[in-house]
Amino acid sequence: ASDKSSGSTKSKDSIKLGWVGPLTGPTSTDGTLSRNAAQLAIEQINKEGGVNGKKVELVTEDDQGKPEEALKAVQKLINSDKVAGIVGGGYSGPMKTVTPKVQSAKVPMVVAYAVHPDITKGGDYVNRVIYTADIQGKAMADYAVNDLKKKNIAVLYVDIDYGISIYSAFKDEAKKLGANVVIEKPFKMGDKDFSSILTAVKASKPDALYVVGYYNEAAGIVTQSKELGIDAQFLGVDGFDSPKFLELGKENTQAATFTTSFFATDTREVVQHFVKAWHEKYKDSEPDMLSSQSYDATEVMLEAMKKAGTDREKLAKAISETKDFEGTSGKISFNAHHEVVKPVIFMTVKDGKFQYVKSLNY
């Protein structure tokens, strides 16, 4: 479905930008946030006169969180809508499925938050603005062992590529740094009851519990840990980064510390500009890490477009050459593998609020 609310009428000289992600199905909330962020970026640029005098139009397609739907969606964007580029607002499965097609059709794409390691492989057309699992895992291992001096760490991870890849990077690094991973257990997205794995965790007497997963399950895990009397330090990942985590986990979230790429209280101007615009447009919702990533992905694309126009090959090159672009999630550059280089941010929960701890380039 083409999006009309971004204000532009379909004229010959508008530039079409594609967005694909889940608008229905269990992950539709994330998809919707991502789309809203992309829309916001487009609206802002159109207000400023568009890209090189042309308005930009966002064409959004639902992938329902399913690979083959994503494939069709992208085929439509490429072949029917003939978009100049695509913002990938979906999760790994669908994004991983479409990137080979995107590469072979030579359409520039910026992936917002999918972390499957292979997404950027196989060509020069796909870049991603979120750092890979490796970096996040390593960053937390370093923080846990060197800063917090934790020795016996328990790991719970969601059994999808996101969880597995971050957790393996973490494990390798933590071991290298001399800590033990005393227990490791997978859980499923949508799980509600963690009492049995937490009982096992408790028995292993960890001094820190690293949870690699999203806020819904994370909130359940912190709450049920308290019920079982586990008093280890909670460590987490960017999947925690949502107001929902605080809402669902209530006081149990206290002191949970996690890595992320965005925080709304960042004083940098781009961030404040983004947060303000977001609040104006989407009244009762808070910008979070997902929306920031999608906003940045769109911005990177638009920025490159300003420089290189809509020629797909040039555009792709321009995207890859992005250097120190001020994104809401930090200064963005891409390395030779089309992966982003930007700082990892550490946040913690204090009195029901997220609080900035530090940020560091890994």
């Binding site: 083409s2 609310s5 229905t24 539709s28 080979p100 390691p117 999808i160 590529d161 597995i164 890849s165």
Partner: protein
Amino acid sequence: MVLEALFNPYYVDIVVFLIIYILLGLGLNLITGYAGQVSLGHAAFFGIGAYSSAILSVKADLNPWLAITLAIVITFVISAILGLPSLRVREDFLAITTLGMGLIIQSFFKNSSITGGAYGIDSIPTPSLFGMKLENMSYLIFLLIVMLIGIYAVRRMTQSRIGRAWMVIREDDIVAQSMGINTTYYKVLVFAIGGAYAGAAGALFAHKVSFISSDSFGFAVSATLLSMVVIGGLGSIRGTLFGVSVLYLLPEFFRLFQFTFIDMNYLDMYKMMIYGLLMVLMMRYRPNGIFGKKGAKKVMTKRLHKKKAVKGGEHIA
């Protein structure tokens, strides 16, 4: 190739996936429509086909054609084995048993290392013919041929003695046995053949999308397939073609045409609501499916004569 340029790959893809679903539907219709073994786990067969072909062509480096062929054979065999519980489990439990089997197999795909675990399998090669890669249009043409063969074979089987055996098994197992039908053999056979169709669909799917993960083979797919087949009409080939096409293309129409009279932000959810409503209404007004075997008169007799099938405490007399 000229042909490739002529057609919008987007439309080509829609049709390619449609044909894959039709193959799935044909297989399920054999199992559930013709032989009466309700299956809520068809996606598992689909997945087995897809993973077999993917593993063989990526990890064992076999030629895609060989991989596809072997995948069909493998699915045929595994489906036969998975059909075994249907011999023993009570009829009214079969839906739940097959559902469970589907979940188990999906879970295996997700956790086993041979299937690439949560990462799935990628870089599945595109098959080529006479040195030409079968992409888009040429792949579609190839699939069309496969589909026609598939339809022809279903037609022949169901209109023969074998189809009659399945029909009797569907209607009354005891009668079937008493008439000299080896129900064990024919039940396993129908699972094997129906599974092989799904296996073919899976293999063709894998080589089309080039990346597969367990997400594509879940309960939702099984349930959707069953809906397609039932809405078209159990035991009808035309019905399967129709049911699959309608339910498959419906969401695609939403993608193609733009509606302005509803809040766009929720369009996709409306889409699913309409989808659900349609399923309810179709069942309500055409309980035997659009091309169901039973016309109005037959429906009436069925209603009047309906004697609830009682297995369990039955006295065969």
